[in-house]
């Protein structure tokens, strides 16, 4: 049942785990399994419960990966439609949430890869802006400013570095789960997370 614990604490970094867990889905996995069985047999009402339950977390993931609300919503929507079509073949070896993380990450990586070559280098200093969802006037100024700086810094990572780091630090996935979601080996995941940390610590030092 290790598949069903996407938020297992990362070894040696106890400070990072609680933050990630706070944001990870609090979905009752067992109930998910029943709903997945129903949905895979064509029960759209069961699928709707799953969609409503997992959309907030998946949307946060897509927003963090893409930095754009509109693109993030499209990615999540496409991922669900794809999941609905593939449910009859879903073997339930992984939890539904892990499976959806995989599909959404995959969609977002495709968007990011398609985006990169067309983006002129000089635009990287201003683009992409922090996601619109961070621009709420009700925000706590300090947190929001830091969050914006972090999201701007994310634009400097490669798509794979960004996906690995976001899944790890924001969503609390294990290296194993990230490897499956991104489609690379576990050592490559560790390498990309290290590179991302290396880049982001420098970027955040400049900001301060």
């Amino acid at each position: 049942m290790s598949d069903e614990q996407p938020g297992a604490a990362p070894p040696g970094r106890p400070d990072a785990a609680p933050a990630a867990r706070a944001d990870a889905p609090a979905a009752p996995v067992r109930e998910d399994d029943l709903l997945v069985a129903r949905a895979s047999e064509g029960d759209d009402e069961a699928f709707e419960i799953l969609v409503r339950r997992h959309t907030p977390d998946l949307l946060r993931l897509a927003r963090r990966l893409l930095g754009s609300d509109a693109e993030a919503e499209d990615a999540v929507q496409d991922a669900y439609v794809s999941a609905w079509r593939r449910l009859p073949e879903f073997r339930r070896t992984a939890a539904f949430s892990t499976w959806m993380y995989r599909i959404v990450t995959n969609r977002c990586l495709n968007v990011l890869r398609a985006r990169r070559p067309t983006q002129p280098l000089e635009s990287m200093t201003v683009e992409p802006a922090a996601p619109e969802y961070l621009s709420s006037p009700a925000r706590a100024a300090e947190s929001a400013a830091s969050a914006e700086a972090l999201h701007r810094a994310l634009a400097g990572l490669t798509p794979e570095q960004r996906a690995c780091w976001v899944l790890r630090e924001f969503h609390g996935l294990t290296y194993d789960e990230i490897a499956a979601a991104v489609g690379i080996g576990e050592p490559a995941v560790r390498g990309r997370i290290f590179r991302a940390r290396r880049y982001l610590t420098e970027a955040m030092a400049t900001w301060r």
């Binding site: 040696g12 047999e41 064509g42 009402e45 959309t55 709420s136 947190s143 830091s146 610590t201």
Partner: protein, 202 residues
Amino acid sequence: MALDDELLPCGASLADLWEDGAPAPGHEDCPYCRDSLAELGRLDQAVHQALAVRDLPAPDLAARVMDLVRTELRPGRLVPLGAADADDWITETAATRLFRQAADTLPGVAAGSCRITAAREPARYLLPGAPLPRVPLRVRLEVAVDLSRTVPEVAAAVRERVLDAAHAVIGLDIAEVDVSVVDLLDEGTDDGAGDGTGEGSG
């Protein structure tokens, strides 16, 4: 040493230091290690702050998703209804939805997979998606239950609800109902009355 690495002036691996979250033995008082950990700590703090920022929901996204999904419904096979000379049918998805709902009305029962098949192997091979023949039918229903009753009691109650719903609501006579308990529910009564022997569910 990690694959993708960088050494600090003190010789420690930065990748290992950051993965472990603590200096290697012998480096406890090393200023390079301490500074590098502080750097990562500042990044962690930025992550904490980003997690604390409330994001705006997209209220209509789930509805949009379901609008799309419902253009691609999977009604399943047709199940024959009524007398032998009738030409009345119901989709398997509609019938199983009714059976699951019937089971769900029992306290401490949550229905999962539900399938309708011929009670006995059909004489001829059925093409996938072909309507079920007019033969005695079997319902296979998987449920999760709490421990307020024994499994045989729950199975009997579920069977009764399914048979009643089939007969009363759609006029379908089911020959057999197989109930499988696939999981236990945490919630519900906690008086621990049932002994949950787990037998006799068929």
